[in-house]
């Protein structure tokens, strides 16, 4: 082992790291104070009131209600501070900012597959620019995993059959551990990688280098055509199937009278279980694509549908270009 790599405190490399650490120091302070208090009192009493003869019979001391109230109320106040402070930090870490750049994560036994909007795919490595918020949309192909970057103080489970989100904003360039934190089977400890935080210019260069085979949305579009979705879903046309233009983020009226917000989870469900939520005015005629699309393919399709935002009349026009 190299002794230089030894450390006792993790690096702070995200906006969240500082606020988590502040809260942590507060907790360490409280814990240290009470531990030392108890230790000191035990030592002091044990020595001061040690048994001097076997026949010794100490005078009984009767409990005091005041004391009981004091040592109930003080801890109660302290833990309420912990709760409030912890909740603020947690909500901060849970809500991705609107301008965050999107990265898709697929976990599988035992690797991380990451896709950038621009189409770059990575395995067990994530390259990102410093100073820009990154929003992860994550799912798993098999069991539960957990995306954990200690230097960012950020962790969130990655579940099969569901999209979870997490975000961070790196503040320091460098190379940071990426771990799987939820036990996922034999090579769990091998499901690790690196997050590379780069200067924006460096990142642009990295993005430019190497053929990417098109953006995520354009790959999604290709898949959309390969799967013959275009036969029914035609943009700007009210055919047998709903128009997908401007769908993402809108509120969809359903056949059973309810409504649903068209988010990633809804799109995913509609591709895999088309009859679960049928749009008002349409028949449940869409076949399921279960087993025909991989998790990564699903993310590409979703990104394609997301890209159908502009008032463009031509349906073949990709929404984003490299």
């Amino acid at each position: 082992m190299s002794p230089s790599s030894f450390r006792l405190f993790p690096e702070q490399a995200s906006t969240l790291a500082g606020s988590v650490d502040h809260l942590y120091f507060f907790l360490v302070g409280v814990a240290a104070f009470f531990s030392l208090l108890i230790f000191a009192l035990i030592f002091f009493f044990a020595i001061r009131h040690r048994r001097r003869s076997e026949a010794e019979r100490p005078q009984p001391v009767h409990g005091g209600l005041v004391l009981e109230v004091v040592w109930t109320v003080i801890p109660l106040g302290l833990v309420m501070v912990m709760f409030g402070w912890g909740a603020v930090v947690y909500l901060d870490g849970a809500r991705p900012p609107g301008d965050a750049m999107q990265v898709y994560v697929v976990g599988k036994q035992w690797m991380w597959k990451l896709q950038h909007m621009e189409g770059q795919r990575e395995i067990n490595e994530l390259h990102i620019p410093v100073g820009r918020a990154v929003r992860l949309t994550m799912t798993s192909e098999d069991v539960i995993h957990s995306f954990y970057v200690p230097a960012f103080r950020m962790k969130y489970d990655v579940l099969p059959g569901r999209y979870t989100t997490a975000w961070f904003k790196p503040t320091k360039t460098g190379k940071y551990h990426l771990f799987c934190a939820e036990y996922c089977g034999t090579r769990h400890s091998g499901m690790i990688g690196w997050v590379y935080v780069m200067e924006p210019a460096e990142y642009e260069a990295w993005l430019g280098g190497g053929g990417t085979g098109g953006s995520l949305a354009s790959n999604g579009e290709k898949l959309f055509q390969e799967l013959a979705c275009t036969n029914c879903h035609r943009t700007g046309e009210r055919g047998r199937c709903p128009d997908l233009m401007n769908l993402f983020g809108s509120t969809v009226k359903l056949a059973d009278g309810g409504t649903v917000k068209a988010d990633e989870a809804y799109l995913r469900e509609s591709i895999l279980y088309p009859n679960a939520k049928v749009v008002a005015g349409y028949q449940p005629i869409m076949p399921t694509f279960q087993g025909l699309v991989t998790e990564e393919g699903l993310l590409q399709l979703i990104e394609y549908v997301k890209s159908l935002k502009e008032k463009s009349a031509t349906e073949t026009m990709p929404a984003r270009r490299n």
Binding site: M1, S5, F6, R7, L8, F9, P10, V20, Y24, A31, F34, S35, I42, F45, A46, H49, R50, R51, R57, P58, P60, V61, G63, L67, E68, W71, T72, P75, V79, M82, F83, G86, A87, V89, Y90, L91, D92, D142, V143, I144, Y148, P150, A151, R153, K155, Y156, D157, L159, P160, G161, R162, C180, A181, Y183, G185, R187, H188, S189, G190, Y273
Partner: protein, 545 residues
């Protein structure tokens, strides 16, 4: 007492001989000893796996065993230590042995059920051992789906059946205790005259009865899913793996209190006897046990802050979790206050009690870190959690178990343990424990995930410290194992009440006769009344000291 010295009466150990008299006994004291032997074996087995885990982690590369094997090690370590050692530990041994005596009864309410409970634990253990010898199980003791239901190809079913059966042992023990404490108390023994040990076991039993069945049905649903490929938790069928976690933790969080509440009961007894003082704030300590048992059921979601549980639920569970801290804090403060102006003896059980209070304080306070949402996101599923629950379960529950064993050993076997060796081992255990587990807090905050077979180099220094501590700890556990066995034959003969303690269990010979008491005792004063005891001893002519 003076009259009996001429001709020693048969006690529960000598009343009958032969293997049948043990395997078919309905005497709660003998059943307690059956448990003692059984769980000691499971502890040694679980400890063996712990040793192997620590050896593997000595180096960053996974070089001692393969990752398959390592995963089986930590799974079996967890399953055996939790379900076959810690859950039965204090209640099934000392609780079984002492509760009827402490309340002045001849036996538990359902003696045959008590024996059945022991057989169920043995059967559950047998299934687990079968799984172990057939090839092991690698899901972790938490059995999260869909890994356990679909992906693992190890002996999940056999282990699950083992846990299911052992669970019924726990349920029936709890049921037996509740009925016994309600219905079998001696005349005059009102609720607020009960020893705090009994209060703690009553609270524990509530959890066993209310929580364990949910684990049982969760295991049934898991088995149906794994055995028949029909999915309750399978995302491919619209199932929710997070539901499994809810149902699992509904039991498994309160289960932590099944392990720690009885130890709190033991420590209350020890602190009182060796300070010769009534426990400060008796009512508060008694009610805090029940409060912990009740609150314990409202907080399970704090194991799931990053599981994709809703943010709102996260806030609710975090808020509720902090309230468990209050009754725990009340206990620690009251124990400490009990020492004030006491007559404090440094006998071995008291050393363990000191150790318990200190380590439980650290364990409890670090629990606050995990209830705090913002910090838990970082330390969840890292060695911080591992360190925290070992401070509670090993530093807390196991220290109290050993303290209690030393304290009641003379009552159980009529022999004293060797004090010098015992003090030495208590010291070794305390030092070894801290060396093993304190570095793990640092590892956890650094980001070392749990259940890792191999790890990045920068974590090695702390892992080496931890492994070094574990070897010290192992020595600390081997010493008592040797001298306890030695004392059965060579230990000094113990008097009926070697500590000048107040409980009813000390008013009967050591070891006690089969029926516990010659006459049903009548209780006329509160627990821990050392003045009344002194008067009694004076009348009976017992020389103090």
């Amino acid at each position: 007492m003076i009259t009996t010295t001429t001709e020693p009466r048969a006690n529960y150990l000598t009343s009958d001989f032969g293997i049948k008299s043990w395997l078919l006994t309905t005497d709660h004291k003998r059943i307690g000893l059956l448990y003692l032997v059984t769980i000691t074996l499971f502890f040694i087995l679980g400890g063996l796996f712990a040793t192997l885990i620590r050896l593997e982690l000595l180096t960053p590369q996974g070089d001692l065993t393969s990752s398959e094997t390592y995963n089986k090690f930590f799974t079996l370590h967890g399953v055996i230590m939790i379900f076959l050692f810690l859950i039965p530990s204090i209640p099934a041994t000392m609780g079984n042995f002492l509760i009827p005596m402490m309340i002045g009864a001849k036996d538990l309410a359902f003696p045959r059920l008590n024996l059945l409970s022991w057989y169920l634990l043995v059967a559950g253990g047998a299934f687990t051992l079968y799984a172990m010898f057939a090839g092991g199980v690698d899901t972790g003791w938490t059995f999260y789906t869909p890994y356990s239901s679909t992906y693992s190809n190890t002996y999940v079913m056999a282990t699950a059946v083992g846990i299911f059966i052992a669970g019924f042992s726990s349920i029936l023990t709890g049921l037996n205790f509740i009925v016994t404490i309600h219905r079998m108390r001696a005349p005059g023994l009102t609720w607020f005259r009960l020893p705090l040990f009994v209060w703690a076991h009553y609270a524990t039993s509530l959890i066993q009865v209310l929580g364990t069945p949910v684990l049982a049905v969760t295991i049934v649903l898991l088995a149906i899913e794994r055995g028949f490929h029909i999915g309750i938790f399978d995302p491919a069928l619209g199932g929710d793996p997070v539901l499994f976690q809810h149902m699992f933790w509904f039991y498994s969080h309160p289960a932590v209190y099944i392990m720690i509440l009885p130890s709190m009961g033991v420590v209350s007894e020890l602190v009182s006897v060796f300070a010769r003082k009534r426990v400060f704030g008796y009512e508060f300590v008694a009610f805090s046990s029940v409060a912990i048992a009740v609150y314990g059921f409202l907080v399970w979601g704090h194991h799931m802050f990053v599981s994709s549980q809703s943010v709102y639920a996260g806030l609710v569970f975090s808020f509720l979790s902090f309230f468990v801290a209050i009754p725990s804090a009340i206990k620690v403060f009251n124990w400490t206050a009990t020492l004030y102006k006491g007559s404090i003896s440094y006998r071995t059980p008291m050393l363990y009690a000191f150790g318990f209070i200190g380590l439980f304080t650290i364990g409890g306070l670090t629990g606050l870190f995990l209830a705090t949402l913002g910090v838990d996101v970082h330390v969840h599923d890292t060695y911080f959690v591992v360190a925290h629950f070992h401070y509670i379960m090993v530093g807390g529950a196991l220290m109290a178990y050993l303290g209690g064993l030393h304290y009641w050993w003379p009552k159980m076997f009529g022999r004293m343990y060797p004090e010098g060796w015992a003090k030495l081992s208590a010291l070794v255990v305390f030092l070894g424990f801290n060396l093993t587990f304190f570095p793990q807090f640092l590892l956890g905050y650094l980001g070392m995930p749990r259940r890792y077979h191999a790890y990045p180099e920068e974590f090695q220094v702390l892992h080496v410290l931890s492994t070094a501590g574990a070897s010290v700890l192992a020595v600390g556990y081997v010493i008592p194992l040797i001298y306890f066995i030695w004392s059965l034959r060579y230990g000094a003969v113990a008097p009926a009440n070697p500590w000048h303690a107040t409980g009813l269990e000390w008013k009967t010979p050591s070891p006690p006769p089969t029926e516990n008491f010659e006459f049903t005792p009548v209780v006329t004063h509160e627990a821990y009344d050392y003045e009344a005891l002194a008067q009694e001893e004076e009348q009976e002519g017992v020389r103090v000291g």
